[in-house]
Amino acid sequence: MDLTHRFTVPTPVEQTWAHFADIASVAECFPGAAVTSVEGDTFAGSVKVKLGPIALVYNGSGTFVEKDDTAHRFVVDAKGKDKRGNGTAGATVTLTMASAGTGTDVEVVTDLSITGKPAQFGRGVMQDVSDKLLGQFVDCLEQRLGGEAEPTVPHVSVAETPPEQPEREGPSEPSTPKHLADPPADDSLDLGATVLPVLARSYWKPAAGALGVLLLLWWVVSRSRR
């Protein structure tokens, strides 16, 4: 069963759809992703992920395998291989738009498949990892479409209707968005932030216990010092 995210943007469906002609800007919405080239319906790039001690750099390419301008639906198939032989990551993203009054309902259905080390080690963690990856992907799309809408969790629709940044508009200059030249400083997604809550959930009790012991020791020591 695929993972589904929904959100609403205030721009009309045609305008929103036009935005997605800019392949790169869509692809870049994948956390830690950098698009290196775009040719027609195909783009190449890399995604960096840190999973605890495992640093993964997925190099790969994506293709718009399906693009229906009338039904406002496209399917992107992206597949990457870790450059250190730790396996592959593949994602099939199906995005559909439907007009909702003045705005647009956007649905992103993603089927993520990961092989190799991260899958082997992260049985519990992978769930949070993929949620985080997709959550950020959707937030990013949402922001770009909805302008300054603060990063929100999926399912929350954006109220305001700020105009879109002009340089992002239309298919006129799609293939090289500005920040391809200078990618964000930390372009890798560190999942420490993702894993910690998981660990915390599992280990807070022993941790608290240990803390208690430490405090007790400190108390004993400080008393004995007197």
């Binding site: 695929d2 250190r84 032989g85 396996g87 993520l112 092989t115 899958a119 082997q120 049985r123 769930q127």
Partner: protein
């Protein structure tokens, strides 16, 4: 037979003499071995379950710091050898070629595709990540049942996943009636019980990861390996890599556990062997824990289809067993032999008139499976002990009553079973009586009843397992008749040193069992020398040139008997010499407590004195060789059949599915006990491993064939903290197949405990319409079973379970 004045060593709870060095780690673990100029290996493994290798670029790895070379399967020819299957269970068995390092196609995630040789292990591992392998993914055969239907082929060139179909039928064998007739009759006027049980995939998870050091610099090539089977490894190296046996020395130094997981000829050993020979330098490979979980062979993984026919009163008239066994990607050294080892045990301790067993072994794109503690017998015991409980429910009597009605009475031994095996000794009544008493059986049954009536949210269940097993592998003739590739004898030598110390050489190869202590106790009694004066030498094909190693609870019952016979020969050799020195007739001599004495006189000589006299050889009778050293090779005429009654009380919180083990009692009959402390250790460890299958452990693959329980975070290995204090005791009916009367105990606990626990869990929730819960019985499964009256669902084979919502059956 043994010393009379001094206390007998046999039966003493000696502390294990080897533990000091083993526990502190200041010993010869393979990974501790460092040789001059030794290089280190790291393996490059496939992340895919099934893929063709399109290209391997090793240039970046070769350029990495301190990397000596990087080799792939294509760089080797014949000298790489193959990993052998020693037990083709049928003449037409379909067996895929098993290269240690395939160059064209990988058949499971974790298979080795390249090896990096570097000056340090860390540098080798870093460089391994720089090897760039291009794969073309192929569809992977993962699910056992789908694979059996040949939906996806694990090895396309073979055209099928079905490896071998092996059958035993009591009617054909002339050892019993026709099971189909029995079932047909039972359908009309009796009881027919049909069940399907799942034996989940398990990982041996020995404490010491596998490690191998190859030293090609001497006249002989030397391999140090953390293996259970140095002699078999030597044989297989010679047979497959073209190096003469005489040029091969295999040493299993101290080995930290195996449980069958080191009963293997591994790709890692073969690759280290080939690399060492290729570069002419010593090399070492030690696996990481995650590599161990992925590439060390797994165990169990079967579907068991069972049909039990009985009369209305619960007398069993026939039992039909149909197995699907997952071999994984290759047919391992024992491979399909594992279910066959269980084939003769499904009738267990019972007098079944008709029996039919059939197993279909199946190839998949998962880690290959092989022997794991119990090997076939835990599966058999689980099936029969679970279904006997079902029969009891059907008849409406206590499960112990159903068992007693069908089991072999103590006065009926020796008893030839429906499988044609002769059980030499046993007393099921005695063991069961003792267990019931220790357990407080009737009181707990009463409490269970009371809790049911009161509708207590925490219900009590009582599980029973009256097991037997065939161990002490094995009569060579029997193994031969089953097409096993080797024999089952064991060899020993006893040597007297000039100063009267004793060196015992055994072909058994200990990896934690305590052989050095137990064998010393046996020899100390036999020769009447102090326990401390006995040294046990093993695990080196140069020190112990002949042997068949340690597995199948064979070391004591087979290897121990060889030692006894060698020791007796020493006494026989010493006798004429003693007579000569004492100027007495041989007939007037008697040997006891290590002393030859002349009847009716106070004259005598200790065996140590005779050893010295033999060393100087100044005054020996004419024509007598100046040596007392003796050899013996023992081939048992039959297996040994330990048995026991295990009782388990489980508390189940019906609101949460949480499980709590309340009490566990086992009374095992393992014949004569050499060292009660070692036996207790074996039983405790065995119980925990069996309980772990029932409650915790399972190797899980996702839908792309990645082992997602690939670390101890996800593969739930129990610790002492997870278990309770077991009440263990014994009854004794000595085995008649060896002179000490011993029976194997190494696997007993594991074989018996799994059904006892699951029977208890099911017994606790049966009133909710539950008659089976798939192992491991996790709280979630138990809860779901209670809610639905089902099996609690199968394991979701997804790395990211929430993607599969709704699919979980």
């Amino acid at each position: 037979m043994t010393a009379t004045e001094v206390e007998n060593e046999i039966g003493r709870d000696r502390r294990r003499k080897e533990d000091q060095r083993l526990i502190t780690g200041r010993t010869r673990w393979t990974d501790n071995i460092v040789l001059p100029g030794m290089l280190h290996l790291a393996m490059v493994r496939s992340p895919f379950a099934h893929a063709t290798i399109t290209s391997i670029d090793t240039s970046a790895a070769k350029a990495a710091p301190n990397v000596v070379t990087v080799l792939t399967g294509a760089d080797f020819g014949e000298e790489l050898g193959v990993c052998i299957n020693a037990w083709p269970i049928t003449p037409d068995q379909v067996t895929p070629g098993h290269s240690p390092m395939p160059s064209d196609r990988v058949a499971f995630a974790g298979e080795i595709v390249a090896v990096v040789v570097a000056r340090s292990a860390a540098e080798a591992r870093d460089a391994a990540e720089l090897v760039d392998v291009e794969y073309d993914e192929l569809p992977a055969a993962l699910d056992l049942k789908k694979a059996a239907a040949d939906e996806v082929i694990a090895h396309p060139d073979l055209g099928t996943n079905k490896s071998a179909y092996w059958v035993f039928d009591s009617a054909e064998a002339g050892t019993g009636g026709n099971v189909e007739d029995a079932i047909a009759k039972a359908r009309t006027d009796g009881i027919v019980i049909e069940r399907e049980y799942r034996q989940q995939r398990l990982i041996p998870a020995f404490m010491e990861p596998r490690s191998v050091v190859v030293d090609p610099t001497g006249e002989q090539y030397v391999m140090y390996s953390a293996t259970q089977i140095p002699h078999i490894v030597r044989f297989a190296l010679a047979a497959t890599t073209g190096v003469p046996e005489s040029k091969i020395r295999v040493i299993a130094p101290d080995v930290g556990g195996g449980f069958g997981g080191k009963l293997q000829v591994t790709p890692e050993e073969w690759i280290a062997w080939a690399v060492g020979r290729r570069i002419g330098k010593p090399v070492k490979y030690t696996e990481t824990r995650s590599e161990s979980l992925v590439s060390g062979h797994h165990g169990r993984d079967q579907w068991q289809k069972l049909t039990l026919a009985a009369e209305k009163d619960g007398t069993v008239t026939g039992f039909k067993v149909e197995l699907l066994a997952d071999l994984g990607a290759y047919v391992a050294i024992v491979g399909g032999g594992v279910p066959v080892l269980g084939a003769f045990m499904f009738n267990s301790i019972y007098k079944f008139p008709a029996y039919h067993f059939a197993v279909q072994t199946v190839l998949t794109n998962k880690t290959w499976t092989d022997a794991y503690r119990g090997a076939g017998r835990p599966e058999a015991t689980y099936a029969i002990e679970r279904i006997m409980d079902e029969l009891a429910v059907e008849v409406g009597v206590d499960p112990l009553v159903i068992r007693e009605k069908n089991w072999i009475k103590h006065e009926e031994f020796p008893f030839t079973t429906v499988c044609g095996l002769e059980y030499d000794s046993g007393n099921y009544e005695a063991a069961t009586e003792k267990a019931k008493e220790m357990f407080g059986y009737d009181a707990l049954r009463a409490e269970q009843q009371q809790r049911r009536e009161a509708g207590d949210p925490v219900q009590l269940g009582i599980g029973i397992s009256t097991f037997t097993e065939m161990c002490g592998l094995a009569p060579s003739r029997v193994l031969g008749s089953l097409d096993y590739g080797a024999g089952g004898w064991e060899h020993a030598a006893v040597r007297m040193t000039p100063l009267g110390k004793v060196e015992v050489v055994t072909g058994a190869s200990a990896h934690g069992q305590g052989h050095e202590t137990a064998f010393s106790q046996i020899v100390a009694d036999r020769l009447g020398v102090p326990f401390e004066d006995v040294e046990v030498l093993h695990g080196d094909t140069q020190v112990a040139p002949r042997g068949l190693d340690t597995y199948g609870s064979r070391s004591l019952v087979v290897g121990g008997e060889a030692i006894v016979r060698a020791a007796d020969k020493v006494v026989e050799k010493a006798k004429p010499i003693a007579a000569h020195l004492l100027e007495a007739s041989v007939d007037d001599l008697e040997f006891s407590a290590g002393r030859f004495s002349v009847r009716g006189t106070d004259q005598g000589l200790g065996i140590a004195e005779i050893a010295t006299a033999v060393f100087t050889a100044h005054n020996l009778p004419d024509g007598v060789e100046p040596t007392l050293d003796s050899d013996a090779a023992f081939d048992p005429t039959s297996f040994s059949f330990p048995h026991g009654t295990h009782l388990c009380a489980m508390e189940v919180d019906t609101e949460t599915g949480a499980l709590n083990m309340r009490k566990y009692v086992c009374v095992d009959d393992i014949g004569t006990i050499i060292n009660p402390l070692i036996v207790a250790g074996q039983v405790h460890g065995g119980l925990v491993q069996g309980i772990a299958q029932a409650l915790w452990e399972e190797a899980v693959y996702d839908d792309s064939g990645t082992l997602v329980s690939g670390s101890f975070v996800d593969y739930l290995l129990p610790t002492a903290a997870d278990t309770i204090t077991f009440d263990i005791d014994h009854t004794t009916s000595p085995s008649t197949t060896n002179s000490l009367g011993t029976k194997g105990v190494g696997e007993a606990g594991t074989i018996a405990s799994t059904p006892a626990v699951v029977n208890a869990v099911v017994d606790a929730v049966r009133q909710f319409g539950v008659n089976d819960i798939q192992m491991p019985c996790t709280p979630e499964r138990v809860w779901r079973a209670i809610q639905t009256g089902g099996k609690g669902g199968a394991t979701t084979e997804a790395a990211m379970p929430h993607f599969d919502e709704g699919e979980g059956s």
